[in-house]
């Protein structure tokens, strides 16, 4: 049987592919050996409120600092110092480990100058 030599296109594709696959294998092995499988740890931060026509919108960023995924994450946002003040809720379907998700919560009251508190109500660990 005549043995076929690779032409330059095939050589380039093979080399690039080999680099990609080896990088992936090394990355997974590194993760496996070094990354601790820590439970979800959700930290919420707020952006600058925006006045809309009838309400005020606040951008929120939630970061899962743990390595494990949290599912159905429910977060309560409280405006002001005590519990009688206005509250809003937001839910994220999935928060993979070390990831950041973004959303908005809306209030009737103007949040400018008031304290904002975030309370992670709960989540499922899938």
């Amino acid at each position: 049987m005549e043995k076929k030599k690779k032409n330059w296109v095939e050589i380039v594709v093979t080399v690039i592919s080999a680099v990609i696959v080896l990088f992936t294998l090394v990355f997974l092995t590194y993760q496996l050996l070094t990354e601790e499988q820590t439970p979800p740890d959700i930290v919420v931060t707020f952006g600058k409120p925006m006045a809309k026509q009838n309400y005020f919108a606040i951008p929120i960023t939630a970061e899962n600092k743990g390595a494990k995924t949290a599912q159905k994450v429910r977060i309560e946002i409280v405006l002001g110092e005590d519990n009688s003040n206005e509250k809003a809720h937001i839910e994220f379907d999935y928060m993979p480990g070390k990831s950041i998700v973004k959303g908005w919560v809306n209030f009737n009251e103007d949040p400018t100058g008031q304290k904002l508190g975030a309370h992670v109500l709960g989540y499922v660990v899938p």
Binding site: M1, E2, K3, K4, K5, K6, N7, W8, V9, E10, V13, T14, I16, S17, A18, V19, I20, V21, L22, T24, L25, F27, L28, T29, Q31, L32, E35, Q37, A67, T69, Y94, P96, G97, K98, S99, I100, V101, K102, P126
Partner: protein
């Protein structure tokens, strides 16, 4: 003596590979549960899945591939090439469909890519060797097939290609909620019917309905016992590959043995289709 393919021929081959990859895996790339599986799977499972994927590509290239001359190294390099192309194609599709973006962690992105890329890569391999329009695009009929037509070689070849076929077909539905829902809601009687139906369908495809490729690639049976043995082997490959896929996608956690078996049987239906009809089509 050695020569090389023309650039145009190589590009056509890659083009066929990309179409094959999309043909077999686009349903997966468009399925939510697959994206979730990417970040729900641990690095160890992803690593095993990737290595199994490379192994299946090596097996497929060894028995059916166009280029390699049968050496292990050549087959390995071709498999790496297809896996690399599979990863690149997956990145492209996940990016343009907005499934990977800069805010995500590297482990989430890599998980999503690996879960999808294995099937894409097998599709690329099948596309390269099977979707060619004319014979002169490919080499002559692979002499490896003629060389090794003894029963032992035939059996190992059949088992390996059945594995490739079943993963190619059944991985599209393996992580979906529908499998567990059918398994848990159908009841034992209906699950038993699914099992018998799978078995009968696989046997019919291999031995009775003159399916494309069956005459060339299935050992001619000497008796009904041979038919039964061949069907049992094919169905067991389908069940083993179902078990592997369900384990990888974390579908066994928290379930009693009855639920686990029911899921294996339910996924075994499409896996049987892959291990019988799929296996014959990817080598015809």
């Amino acid at each position: 003596m050695s020569s090389s393919n023309s650039i145009a021929l190589s590009l056509k081959e890659y083009g066929r590979g990309i179409i094959g990859g999309l043909l077999f895996s686009l349903p997966m790339l468009y399925t939510m549960e697959l994206w979730w599986a990417g970040f729900l799977s641990s690095p160890s499972r992803l690593l095993i899945y990737l290595l199994v994927g490379i192994f299946l590509l090596m097996v497929y290239n060894h028995y059916v591939g166009l280029r390699n001359d049968g050496s292990l190294f050549e087959g390995f390099m071709e498999s790496l090439e297809e896996m690399g192309l599979g990863i690149l194609l997956t990145v492209l599709i996940l990016y343009i469909t907005g499934r990977i973006s800069p805010g995500m962690s590297l482990s989430e992105i890599s998980g999503k890519i690996i879960v999808e890329a294995v099937t894409v890569a097998i599709g690329i391999s099948v596309g390269k060797s099977q979707l060619g329009g004319s014979k002169d695009d490919n080499d002559d009929e692979n002499p490896k097939d003629k060389k090794h037509k003894n029963s032992h070689y035939h059996l190992i070849r059949s088992i390996n290609l059945a594995l490739c076929g079943s993963i190619l077909v059944a991985s599209n539905v393996a992580p979906t909620e529908e499998i567990i829902q059918i398994a848990l809601e159908s009841g034992i009687f209906k699950v038993l019917i699914v099992s018998l139906l799978s078995f009968a369908m696989g046997g019919a495809i291999l031995y009775h309905i003159n399916f494309k490729g069956a005459k060339e690639w299935v050992m001619e049976p000497d008796s009904n016992w041979d038919v039964l043995a061949g069907t049992i082997i094919m169905y067991s490959v389908a069940l083993v590959s179902s078990t592997f896929m369900l384990w990888f996608f974390g579908r066994f956690e928290g379930l009693p043995l009855s639920g686990i078996i029911a899921q294996i049987v339910v996924l075994g239906f499409p896996a049987t289709l892959g291990a019988s009809a799929g296996r014959l089509l990817i080598q015809s």
